[in-house]
Amino acid sequence: GGGAQSASTAFDANNCQGGTLDVLNQDDAASHLDPARLYTSGGGNIPSLLFRTLTTRTRKAGADGAKVAPDLATDTGEPNADATVWTYHLRDGLKFEDGTAITAQDVKYGIERGFAAELPGGAPYLHDWLVGAQNYPGPYKDPNGIAAIETPDAKTIVFHLNSPHGDFPYLATATQFAPVPKAQDKGADYEKHPISSGPYKIESYDKGKSMVLVRNTNWSRAVDPNRLACPDRIEATYGLDPAVINQRLTTGTGKDGDAVTTDTDLGPSELAQLDNNPDLAKRVAKGGFPYTYYIAFDNTKAPFNDIRVRQALSYAIDRTSVVNAAGGSSLAYPATTFLPDNKNMGYQAFDFFPAGKNGDPAKAKQLLAEAGFSNGITITLAHRSADFNQDGPKVATAVQDAFQKAGITVKLQSIDSDSYTTTVSNPATQPQASVEGWGADWPSGGPFIIPIFDGRQYLAGGGNFNTAHFNDPKVNADIDAINKITDPDQAAQRWGQVDSEIMKQAPLVPLFHTTQLRLYGKNVKNAFVSDWTGVYDLSQVSVK
């Protein structure tokens, strides 16, 4: 038999199985464990242990991890010439946890569920991209299904899109692309025990409190090249306090040595500890989930309709104090571009309005004077009422302080956290200016840039993210052209150019991009971070 393994043995993927992994989280895995209702990037962390999707993220460290890999499908998808038709073939030997075979119809049904009003919350892309699916009410009201998804046989599934989308393989990583056996669908109750297609299945699930996952015996590495699935058992506890989670991971007594978290980063107040404790510093995974914070305002309204005013704002910003307000240089870095520093998204460095470390109030004042505001201006800046994210009072006051020096008086408007996004994303209620953040649904320039800057995405009725009301025909055309490109590297290159094209016009003031530091237990191995998720991957870690 195998000898006793000590924590110091190196990680070996072939011999990593065993043990129980503990997950210490603040909130439930997601508000809903229904694949139709999850809105995750790349399939999520815990959901990805239960739901296999047509494609998935490559489980690799760094930039390599930001690529798409086939999962249920044999490849990342076969596009037609203009990327409007995508065909997938399922692997052999795929089974649900109950042993029944996974078919293309199950995948189709899973997607159709996401259209049901009873199961809201999922990503909206399919709704807009599939031909004629705009008004599809879901399989409960319309069992005929979506015609734009064809399943010619049990292993083939074909998607017909209404416009080119070279990014489709990225989208196919979303949990909506997970198979759902129609016979087991219980509607909203399905999430109490969703049928697993992944390496684990649910043993018990107490919503908002705890979840226990055990091995799905109908899954094997033979049919899944991506997931290692090392622990035999995963026990998740929800409802913990972030400070307590980090403290438990730091201390690592008892079972906590085998613990990780999927939703708790180190906060600024906890960083000082790392300095004093080198051992601890080794147990911190550092990643960068692509995210940008910025000041948004409507470019069509005075005074922002004058580019000199917009430029003045860019010059006035003190990015050092803003970064500090966001947690300091370990948790954020200054942004002068809209795209975060991520190769796969096509990041290109530029700084059109160099404000230096602490802003250039003189330049800003001058620009304002040129624009006819020699006595300065007064603007209202909205922010979230709490510092849950980096769009709270801290950052807002940093902006206020910096702007003050440039003669820009900022009146702060605190909006309740729950309704913040709703308020700012509705042109009817949109404040004059607001602190906002944007993250990518997948590591490509498309989902990062299109909702914010595509002039045709301006939604007057609400759910609008083009807060700048930006509408540049050249940019729109570029977007259409890039959407046709199916080679990610080529597309990335173009997105970078579009970014600089946009930012020259100063439609918003980029503030900073965030990075994440996340602790894991002292017995946890193989906790690496990819540029896609910014956090370690539960399907790869081991506690043995």
């Binding site: 107040s269 906890e270 960083l271 947690g327 240089s329 922010h383 006051t397 309740d416």
Partner: protein, 310 residues
């Protein structure tokens, strides 16, 4: 007959008794200092040469999450109480200005709570069965009501121009009178069985007069004691309301808000937590001491500690 001392008792006697209670005088002095700090906040801050809103990126260690550079949270000649982590804003300025908001809001809210609570408690205790039932039920509702929901709804109703501290004091006061009401009612029920209430009734005194003259003095002890403790609770509640957006607007500070943002820092920057905590503590302490002094001074039966003085 000896020369009559015609001076009325009341305040003079009360003050005399209060003065002899050293703890109460200490409490009053501390409370006075806190009030002075609040009143002269702008002046003091100007003397220090700082303000509440200016960021000092150079005073915090950006790589380590923004902990203040230097010992004791960056205390120095320029920054008397050090600076705030991450932002580097001056803590003395924020504490001084926080005193204005916190004391104002907490004191006003407490006054509202006590006023409403005692009024309702008296009315319930003295009134008819129906009045009692209705008022006690009303108190139940006030008690059971989640403040947060109410304040969120308020956000939409109350115009932005409405002065925030006033709004805060009203919200806290109007929602928080239940406890005082219950206590007052209980005490009233017990006092109303005494013969002196019967005597007052015989003289034709109406409910109002009985409440004010006969019962109210008897409520003083529990209510004053309770109110002294409501005060710090209100300081904290103010922070919670600011959190949901009904409170003061940044960069305005309040102790409660400082305390709640400071909590996670208690290991990496103790001073940041300690300073507002000490302020709240001093407030609680001084107000309880004063409350206790007032309670004793109001109670003719408690024996004076200065017995050898006479």
């Amino acid at each position: 007959m000896t020369a009559p001392s015609e001076a009325r008792p009341g305040f003079r006697v009360f003050a005399g008794r209060f003065r002899t209670d050293r703890a109460a005088v200490f409490g009053a002095v501390v409370a006075g200092l806190l009030v002075l700090l609040a009143v002269f906040a702008p002046v003091l801050t100007a003397i220090e040469g700082q303000d509440i809103a200016s960021f000092h990126s150079d005073l915090v260690d950006s790589a380590r999450g923004g902990v203040p550079l230097g010992p004791l949270g960056g205390i120095s000649g320029q920054h008397w109480l050090g600076v705030e982590p991450q932002t580097g804003r001056d803590l003395f300025a924020r504490i001084a200005q926080g005193a204005q908001i916190s004391l104002l809001v907490a004191v006003c809210a407490t006054v509202v709570q006590v006023f409403l609570g005692v009024t309702v408690g008296l009315a319930a205790g003295l009134g008819s069965k129906l009045v009692d039932t209705v008022l006690t039920r009303l108190a139940d509702i006030a008690l059971a009501f989640p403040v947060i929901i109410f304040s969120l709804a308020l956000l939409t109703i109350v115009p932005d121009a409405f002065p925030r501290p006033l709004l805060l004091a009203l919200v806290i006061g109007v929602l928080g009178w239940g406890g005082t009401a219950r206590i007052s009612r209980a005490q009233t029920l017990s006092l109303r069985t005494r013969d002196f209430v019967a005597a007052a009734r015989l003289s034709g005194a109406g409910g109002f007069r009985i409440a004010r003259r006969e019962i109210l003095p008897g409520l003083a002890a529990p209510v004053i004691t309770y109110a002294a403790l409501l005060l710090p609770t209100n300081v904290i509640t103010e922070a919670a309301l600011s959190f949901v957006g009904v409170g003061v607007r940044p960069p305005t500070s309040s102790w409660g808000q400082m305390l709640s943002t400071a909590t996670t820092w208690f290991r990496s920057d103790v001073m940041y937590v300690l300073i507002p905590a000490v302020m709240v503590f001093l407030t609680v302490l001084s107000f309880t001491l004063v409350g206790e002094g007032v309670r004793v001074a109001l109670d003719p039966r408690t024996t004076r500690l200065t017995r050898k003085a006479g």
